[in-house]
Symmetry: C2
Subunit: 194 residues, 2 copies
């Protein structure tokens, strides 16, 4: 159980990069094998099907997301600072992948294709949305946000900005995306406060 898990991890590392630029479907087994310097069959043995590979890639992404975004944000003070931290860490995390957030790509690819991949995406995205909603609710409780703020709506607006940032950055590539998104987010925070 030693060596195998290591190579599997290395494969998923490389797969995450490829999936972020090419998508989960274009992430081909032959291509991935060449990228990590293995034979197609040798790599294939680690995952018993392409669908399992796709799922494993998303699970690896989840793990990184928790480690890079969720956990560090939970260490921040409750309320607005934590909301702000979630946003900051999201921006950082997105930049860690050459093709941007792998979830973004995967959701577009699979939101109309039923199966275990779509199910997994739905589940994790719900969790992320719940976490955001909860963070907003706490900010209300703490008195940072106005009492009549709807946490769910706030979470949606938050997510919209995150998605929009991703798209703007990768399409225009003019370096203005981060400033623009920060401005929009500050405005969102403004209207969320008392």
């Amino acid at each position: 159980m030693g060596k195998g898990a290591d190579t599997r991890g290395m494969i998923l590392d490389r797969a995450l990069s490829l999936a972020s630029t090419e998508g989960l479907e274009q992430l081909t087994i032959g291509l991935l094998a060449k990228a990590v310097g293995m034979s197609k069959s040798g790599l294939f043995a680690h995952f018993k099907s392409k669908e399992q590979l796709q799922l494993s890639v998303l699970e690896a992404a989840s793990e990184r997301f928790v480690r890079g975004v969720i956990s560090p944000s939970l260490k921040e003070p409750r309320g607005e600072p934590r909301v702000q931290a979630l946003f900051d860490h999201w921006l950082e995390w997105e930049a860690a992948f050459p093709g941007g957030c792998p979830y973004q790509t995967a959701i577009i690819e699979f939101d109309d294709r039923p199966g275990v991949v779509r199910d997994y995406l739905l589940e994790t995205q719900r969790d992320w949305q719940d976490a955001l909603t909860q963070a907003a609710r706490i900010a209300v409780d703490e008195g940072h946000f106005r009492a009549d703020l709807e946490p769910k709506t706030f979470a949606f607006q938050f997510t919209c900005l995150a998605i929009g940032y991703y798209q703007h950055k990768h399409l225009y590539r003019d370096g203005t995306s981060k400033t623009l998104t920060r401005k929009a987010f500050d405005q969102l925070l403004d209207s969320a406060r008392a």
Copy 2:
């Protein structure tokens, strides 16, 4: 030049639906041929390459977008009513495709892949962003929006909501997306007004 253009149009019609659900790359020539009841080679003859087919599909989408969103909105009164119309027509237009806005899918697929398709996406998306910015600027001039509003930022926020709506709708499929998005948009309008 009669018959050929007709079938070409019919092909692109079907292709638009398929591309919105499957993506421009998964929109396979063989699959499309089967969908329209033609032979692969017969269909292929209309476009001299797959890249040309993809480009033609996007051009067909552009045409529909102008006819369904831009033009009718320009008939509305200048200022906020026109901005509102742009948003309303966007929501309608998006619903006309089984897999949602074909641009959304295409941008995610091609934003990291240089070529004529990406170039075309960049160009049309810039046009759309410019149109939105211009509409916001007019609303400022008319006194509907506050004088210090930044039209470009507003256009970005607008687009973010549109993208977010698309994703929410197709992933969750719980029927709450439109209400949620309208609420967020109303809030955006509120903060844009005096």
